[in-house]
């Protein structure tokens, strides 16, 4: 099922691109960009949902609600769901597109692995998933040589007698860059933020290790994927350049929507006004003008 729906079509598209451009390295680059392009709507949706969630979490009133119900998890969950519903936020809106993309990313990875058949057994396995309208004798074997790399082997550029893993180094840098520009600023004392920060350090190391030890065709995919992601985020205006370029001032935070929490003690009804800006000092004045909402 997985092979038929994901691996086989992916691999055949990759092989078709290879037939056209006559170069497997270029085919990996084009195929990765094609997949990135196709999954762009999901990425955009994910970013939009993430931004809405971030705005909400920066809202002081929302934080106040969390503080107020910190000992009543059930109530807090109810309040959160109510606010999500009223503001039209899907709490899984940022995770779901990622989860949907995940099989595609794994499929892309596996199809590249499949196409880089290096043993007769792997060649036979590859030959059998080629669609009938493609002629395997015109496709196989695949030319694995690209620039200075053998795409089926870990990459090393021999400089002054030393094999330098240029691609792995570039993958580390671009992964670091990607995580930095994608990760929004967070409060430093927060445990989750600390974990995210440490993940952002582990990811480049892990990716770098994989690029160092695996076939360079995969390292090339990692590199192109990183660069494409950064460009996608930049095109959507979501890149936080201040995270990596110290001379760039952080972008002003978007004005968070006002979240009015329900307060049983004061018999205050919950109100959400997405268009209003956060002005704690003006909150009481604003409250007087708002219509009350029944739960």
């Amino acid at each position: 099922m997985w092979d038929t729906l994901i691996i086989q079509p992916f691999t055949n598209v990759l092989l078709m691109i290879t037939m056209v451009v006559k170069n497997f390295g270029v085919a990996i680059i084009l195929f990765t960009l094609l997949i990135k392009l196709l999954t762009y709507p999901l990425t955009a949706k994910q970013l939009k949902a993430s931004a809405a969630m971030q705005d909400l979490q920066n809202d002081p009133h929302y934080k106040k609600m969390q503080e107020k119900y910190k000992n009543d998890k059930e109530r807090m969950a109810q309040e959160q769901m109510r606010i999500y519903k009223e503001k039209g936020i899907n709490p899984f809106g940022s995770c779901l597109p990622t989860l949907i993309q995940f099989p595609i990313i794994i499929g892309l990875y596996q199809s590249i692995m499949k196409a880089m058949a290096a043993t007769p057994l792997e060649l036979s396995s590859l030959e059998r998933i080629i669609y009938p309208f493609l002629d395997p004798t015109k496709i196989l074997p695949i030319q694995n040589h690209f620039l200075w790399m053998d795409l089926g082997q870990p990459e090393r550029l021999v400089l002054f007698g030393f094999g330098v893993p240029i691609l792995a180094i570039v993958v580390v840098l671009t992964t670091f860059l990607q995580t930095k520009v994608m990760t929004p600023p967070t409060s430093q004392n927060d445990q989750a933020a600390a974990m995210t920060k440490s993940m952002n350090l582990y990811m480049p190391v892990l990716m770098g290790w994989m690029a160092y030890s695996l076939a360079s065709g995969l390292a090339l995919y990692f590199l192109v994927s990183n660069l494409a992601t950064i460009v996608q985020y930049a095109a959507m205006g979501k890149v936080d350049w201040s995270g990596i370029l110290p001379w760039v001032k952080p972008a002003p935070k978007p004005k968070a929507p006002v979240v009015v929490i329900e307060d049983d003690d004061e018999e205050e009804e919950p109100v959400v006004e997405p268009e209003k800006t956060v002005k704690p000092s003006a909150r009481s004045a604003a409250k007087k003008q708002r219509p009350k909402m029944k739960r």
Partner: protein
């Protein structure tokens, strides 16, 4: 938001860990590399080369003694004058003492994998590599010459009259000068060649088939085509080396078709279907031959293509069976064992699965 990013990071890390776990070390799936020398059997599989007794299947030694995830071996070993020559997927050629498996020397010159059996003629060893090179190596491990090709070399070389014949995935059979490694001629095929050619001293011809579904007889002096097999239009990809038994040249294709042809003319004697897909080639066995299909069915046929007996093993067969004296061996993957030994009557003598 922070939690969202945390979730994404955790999912990504887990996913990458899964991918990494699947692929660290030399990335390859292959079949056991089997060879025999007298009453000894050598099996290259994953992290070791095993020396086994052909009669009993008992393990004499394994190399390396301690497994390393960085070393994988699938190439069949060559045994010559008490030495074992075998290449690994960490780009290294090993020279071992056949008696005890201790390493005499290793050669690190290649950039790719050794998947094919090396060949030795006199003081020259020829080692094909996936780094698109064929290496001519002296028997002390020093490099004599290098032939640079366009694709990975996967098949064992054959020596004919001072030339090294080597199958190339670049849709050609190559003849290299034994002394210099320079190309003497190349014979074009319709597809890549992944199996060694067969040389017949009687007819003076080389025989080889390709993934392009053609089967040719080549003159080793010039590389000219003596004849091409045309008596069947439905030949599929050819993954294995043909055999010669009593003036019958027998070759098989991926669809399980087996053809017997006249080695002088290429005229079809008969054809038979083995009943399943077949990457493995035929094995000559006295006045008969053995076929092994991918689904684990082993059948012995007489030279009139009548089945003599059929056995089934647990596992998939992708490698040509190997003869070891009065025993023949079948390597399998995805089964209970990696090796089965049979006598010529089809009785299973022993099986082998490496102990940890």
């Amino acid at each position: 938001m922070k939690k969202t990013w945390l979730k994404i990071s955790i999912i990504s890390i887990l996913g990458l860990a899964v991918l990494a776990g699947c692929a660290m070390g030399p990335r390859a799936e292959s079949i056991p590399g089997i060879s025999a020398d007298g009453d000894s059997v050598y099996v290259s599989y994953r992290q070791h080369v095993y020396k086994l007794n052909a009669k009993s299947g008992t393990e004499s030694w394994r190399f390396p003694v301690k497994a390393s995830t960085a070393v994988m071996l699938y190439a069949p070993a060559l045994v010559k004058d008490g030495k074992v020559y075998v290449g690994d997927l960490a780009n290294t050629l090993h020279n071992l003492t056949a008696d005890n498996g201790t390493e005499t020397w290793s050669s690190l010159g290649a950039k790719g994998w050794y998947q094919a059996k090396v060949a030795i003629d006199g003081d020259l060893m020829v080692a094909p590599n996936t780094d698109r090179n064929v290496y001519g190596v002296n028997l002390d491990g020093s490099l004599k010459w290098t032939y640079k090709g366009n694709f990975a070399f996967l098949a064992e070389p054959v020596f004919v009259d001072g030339k090294v014949m080597i199958s190339s995935q670049d849709h050609e059979l190559l003849a290299l000068d034994r002394e210099t490694g320079e190309e003497i001629w190349s014979a074009p095929f319709k597809g890549g060649l992944v199996a060694a050619p067969l040389y017949d001293p009687t007819s003076g011809l080389l025989f080889a088939g390709s993934l392009g579904k053609d089967f040719l007889a080549i003159k080793p002096e010039t590389g000219e085509v003596a004849w091409s097999f045309k008596d069947a239009s439905d030949v599929s990809s050819i993954w294995s080396t043909p055999i010669l038994i009593k003036d019958q040249l027998i070759f098989s294709d991926e669809a399980g078709s087996v053809f017997s042809v006249n080695p002088e003319t290429g005229a079809l004697n008969w054809r038979v279907n083995a009943g399943g897909d077949m990457i493995a080639g035929p094995l000559a066995l006295e006045d008969s031959f053995v076929l092994a299909t991918e689904d684990g069915v082993i059948t012995r046929y007489d030279l009139d293509r009548n089945p003599i007996w059929t056995k089934t093993v647990d596992g998939q067969i992708y490698g040509t069976p190997v003869l070891a004296g009065d025993v023949f061996l079948v390597g399998t993957i995805k089964g209970a064992n990696i090796l089965y030994a049979f006598d010529f009557k089809g009785n299973q003598l022993w099986s082998f699965m490496p102990a940890n």
